[in-house]
C-alpha cells in the first residue's frame, strides 16, 4: 500500500509543485518591474484619483467640486483649448509630412538613407541647445527678423504673438519627423511587392497604386504611429518652456504649462482632478484606437 502510494501519488504531488513553481516564474520575472510601477505610478495614481474627490488635505470627500473648479478655471480652459488645437494641427501634419518623406526616401533608395539619418538627428540634439538656438532665431530682434528687415519686409514678434503657435508646431514636426519616418518606412516595407505588381497589371497608375495599395497597406502602422505622435506631442513642452518660460504667449499656453504652474503652487486637489481628466481624455482617444489597431490585423 505504502509502496503503491509512493509510486503513484508522490511523483504526481512532486509534479504538481514543480508545475506551480513553474507557473510562478513569469510573475517572479515581472515582479521587480511591477513592484516599482506599483509604488511609483499605479498606487500613487489611484491615490491621485481619490484626492481628486477630496479637499486639499485629502481628508474630506467633496464630490465633483475639484473637477468643477478645474473645468470652470479660465486658465484650464485656455490651456485645454490650446492643447486640443495644437494636437489637432500638429499630429495630422506630422503624420502627412513624415509619410511623404518616407515615400520619397524609399523611392530614391540607396544614397537617400543619409536623409533618414539626418532627419533622425534632431532627436539627439539637446533641448537646451535647441532652446538657445530658437531664442537667437525667433526673438523679436532675432536672426530671422534681422533678415526680414534687411529685405525690407515687416518683422514678426514670433514668441510674443499668435506666431508662437506655429513656431511650436514647426519645432514639433522638425523634432519628430525622423522618428515617424522610420515607422512609416517599416510599414511601407511590409507591403508585399506582389500587390503593386497586381495593381499595375490591372492598369493602375501611380496615384491609384498609392490610394488602393499603399494607404490601406500602412493603415495598421497608422494607429500606433498616431499614438506615439500624440505622446511625443506632450514632450514639446520642453522647448515651449525653455523658449517661452512658465507664462508664454497665450496661444501656446498648454496644459503642460498649467500642470507645471499648479504644481509649483502645490494645488494638489485641482492638480489630481486635472490629471484624472487628462488621463481619461487620452485613454478615451487611445484605447478605441488601440482596439481598431488590434482589429486591423
Amino acid at each position: 500500500m505504502s509502496g503503491k502510494s509512493r509510486l503513484f501519488y508522490k511523483p504526481r504531488k512532486a509534479g504538481r509543485t514543480r508545475k506551480s513553481a513553474r507557473a510562478a516564474v513569469p510573475w517572479l520575472f515581472c515582479a521587480p518591474s511591477l513592484l516599482g510601477l506599483g509604488i511609483f505610478t499605479l498606487f500613487p495614481f489611484l491615490d491621485a484619483v481619490r484626492r481628486g474627490f477630496t479637499d486639499a488635505m485629502g481628508a474630506r470627500f467633496v464630490g465633483l467640486k475639484n473637477f468643477a473648479s478645474v473645468l470652470e478655471n479660465a486658465a484650464f480652459r485656455l490651456a485645454a483649448a490650446n492643447t486640443a488645437r495644437f494636437l489637432a494641427v500638429c499630429v495630422p501634419l506630422l503624420l502627412a509630412v513624415s509619410l511623404l518623406m518616407a515615400l520619397a526616401v524609399r523611392a530614391l533608395a540607396g544614397a537617400a538613407r543619409v536623409f533618414e539619418t539626418t532627419l533622425l538627428l534632431p532627436m539627439a540634439v539637446p533641448v537646451a541647445g535647441i532652446a538657445l538656438l530658437w531664442q537667437a532665431l525667433f526673438h523679436k530682434s532675432g536672426v530671422i527678423n534681422g533678415a526680414l528687415s534687411a529685405l525690407g519686409l515687416e518683422t514678426v514678434d514670433f514668441m510674443g504673438s499668435g506666431a508662437a503657435f506655429w513656431v511650436l508646431v514647426g519645432t514639433y514636426v522638425w523634432k519628430n519627423v525622423g522618428y515617424n519616418m522610420v515607422l512609416w518606412i517599416a510599414g511601407l516595407d511590409a507591403i508585399p511587392d506582389s500587390l503593386y505588381e497586381a495593381a499595375r497589371v490591372d492598369g493602375a497608375g501611380v496615384w491609384r497604386c498609392f490610394w488602393c495599395v499603399t494607404l490601406p497597406g500602412v493603415l495598421p502602422t497608422l494607429f500606433l504611429t498616431a499614438a506615439l505622435s500624440l505622446l511625443n506631442a506632450c514632450k514639446v513642452f520642453r522647448e515651449a518652456y525653455l523658449v517661452g518660460g512658465a507664462y508664454p504667449h497665450d496661444s501656446i499656453y498648454l496644459l503642460q504649462h498649467l500642470f507645471n504652474n499648479w504644481f509649483r503652487e502645490l494645488d494638489v486637489g485641482r492638480l489630481c482632478a486635472a490629471a484624472v481628466l487628462l488621463a481619461a481624455a487620452l485613454l478615451g482617444v487611445l484605447l478605441p484606437m488601440q482596439k481598431l489597431w488590434g482589429d486591423a490585423e
Partner: protein, 291 residues
C-alpha cells in the same frame, strides 16, 4: 532610342523632384547644428555683437554668420579647464541618467522576457497595462509621482528622478518586441537540456534579444539626457540640477559658456547616435510593430 533618352531624363527629373524636399528638410537640421558648432568656436566679443540683440537684450538685430570671423577654441578650453560648475552640472546629468538607464535594463529585461516568451495567465492584461502606462505622458503621473516621492522621503534627492525613471513602461515595451524574435524551438531545446528559466534568459534570451535591449538603452539614454520635466518637478536644490535645466538659465549672463556647453552636451548624444543609430532605428520600428 529617343524614347529611351526621354525616359532617362524624366527619371532624373523625378529624382530631383523627390530629393528637393528632403534636401530642404535636411538643411533645417544641418544649419542649426552647424551654427551650434560654430557658436562654440566664436570668441565672446563677437558672440555678444552678433547674438547680443536676441539673447542679451542689446539694440539692433541678431545675426548668426556661417563662419566666425576669428575662430577660437578659447571658450571651449575655458569651459573644460576653468569652469568647475560646468563639471558639476555635467556630473549631475550623468548621475541622473546612467543609473536610470542601467536600472531600466536590469528591471525591464526579465519582465520583457516573461511578457514575450513565457506563457502565463494574465499575460494579455499585463501587456495592455504596460501599453497604457507607456502612452500616459509625464503630466498625468507627475502629481502621483510627487506624492509617492514625498511619502518615501525622496523629494529633492536624485532618487526622486531616478527611481520612477527606472520603472518606466516604455523600455519593457521595446524589449518585449526585441525578445519576440527568439525562436520558441530554441527555448524548448534549452529546457530539455535542463536549463532553468533564468539560465535560458541569460544564455539565450539576452544574447539573441540584444538588439532590442540596445534599442531600449539608446532611446532611454536620449530621453533621460534631455529630460526637463522630471528634474524640474522633483529637484529644488539648484546644486542637483542637470545641464539640460541649467543651461538656458545661464545663457544671458554667460553666452560663450552656454554655447560651448550646449555643444559638449550634444557630444555624448551624438556619439550614441553615431554608434547606436541602427538600434535606434530598430527600436523605433519595434515601437510601431503590431503584436
Amino acid at each position: 532610342m529617343k524614347n529611351k533618352k526621354m525616359t532617362h531624363s524624366f527619371q532624373r527629373l523625378r529624382r530631383v523632384f523627390l530629393a528637393l524636399p528632403l534636401l530642404l528638410a535636411s538643411l533645417t537640421v544641418w544649419l542649426p547644428l552647424w551654427w551650434m558648432a560654430m557658436g562654440a568656436l566664436t570668441p565672446l566679443d563677437e558672440l555678444t555683437a552678433t547674438l547680443g540683440p536676441a539673447l542679451m537684450g542689446r539694440e539692433g538685430y541678431a545675426l548668426w554668420p556661417l563662419l566666425p570671423s576669428w575662430p577660437t577654441l578659447s571658450p571651449l578650453v575655458e569651459l573644460l579647464l576653468d569652469t568647475p560648475e560646468f563639471f558639476a552640472m555635467f556630473w549631475n546629468t550623468c548621475v541622473l541618467v546612467l543609473p536610470q538607464v542601467l536600472g531600466q535594463l536590469l528591471v525591464g529585461i526579465p519582465a520583457a522576457w516573461a511578457l514575450s516568451r513565457l506563457r502565463f495567465r494574465g499575460q494579455g492584461a499585463l501587456k495592455t497595462l504596460y501599453l497604457v502606462l507607456m502612452l500616459l505622458p509625464f503630466q498625468v503621473t507627475m502629481v502621483s509621482a510627487y506624492l509617492a516621492a514625498d511619502r518615501l522621503g525622496l523629494l529633492d534627492t536624485v532618487w526622486a528622478v531616478i527611481l520612477p525613471g527606472i520603472f518606466g513602461a516604455f523600455p519593457v515595451f521595446i524589449m518585449t518586441k526585441g525578445f519576440d524574435v527568439v525562436p520558441a524551438a530554441l527555448l524548448e531545446a534549452a529546457s530539455l537540456d535542463g536549463a532553468g528559466p533564468l539560465g535560458t534568459l541569460v544564455r539565450i534570451g539576452v544574447p539573441l534579444g540584444m538588439p532590442g535591449v540596445l534599442s531600449a538603452a539608446v532611446l532611454g539614454f536620449l530621453e533621460a539626457w534631455n529630460a526637463i520635466e522630471q528634474p524640474m518637478a522633483f529637484l529644488q536644490t539648484k546644486a542637483l540640477w542637470p545641464l539640460s535645466l541649467y543651461l538656458p538659465q545661464i545663457a544671458a549672463q554667460r553666452l560663450g559658456l552656454a554655447m560651448s556647453a550646449s555643444l559638449v552636451m550634444l557630444a555624448p548624444a551624438a556619439l550614441i547616435f553615431r554608434f547606436g543609430q541602427q538600434y535606434l532605428t530598430l527600436g523605433i520600428q519595434s515601437s510601431g510593430l503590431k503584436e
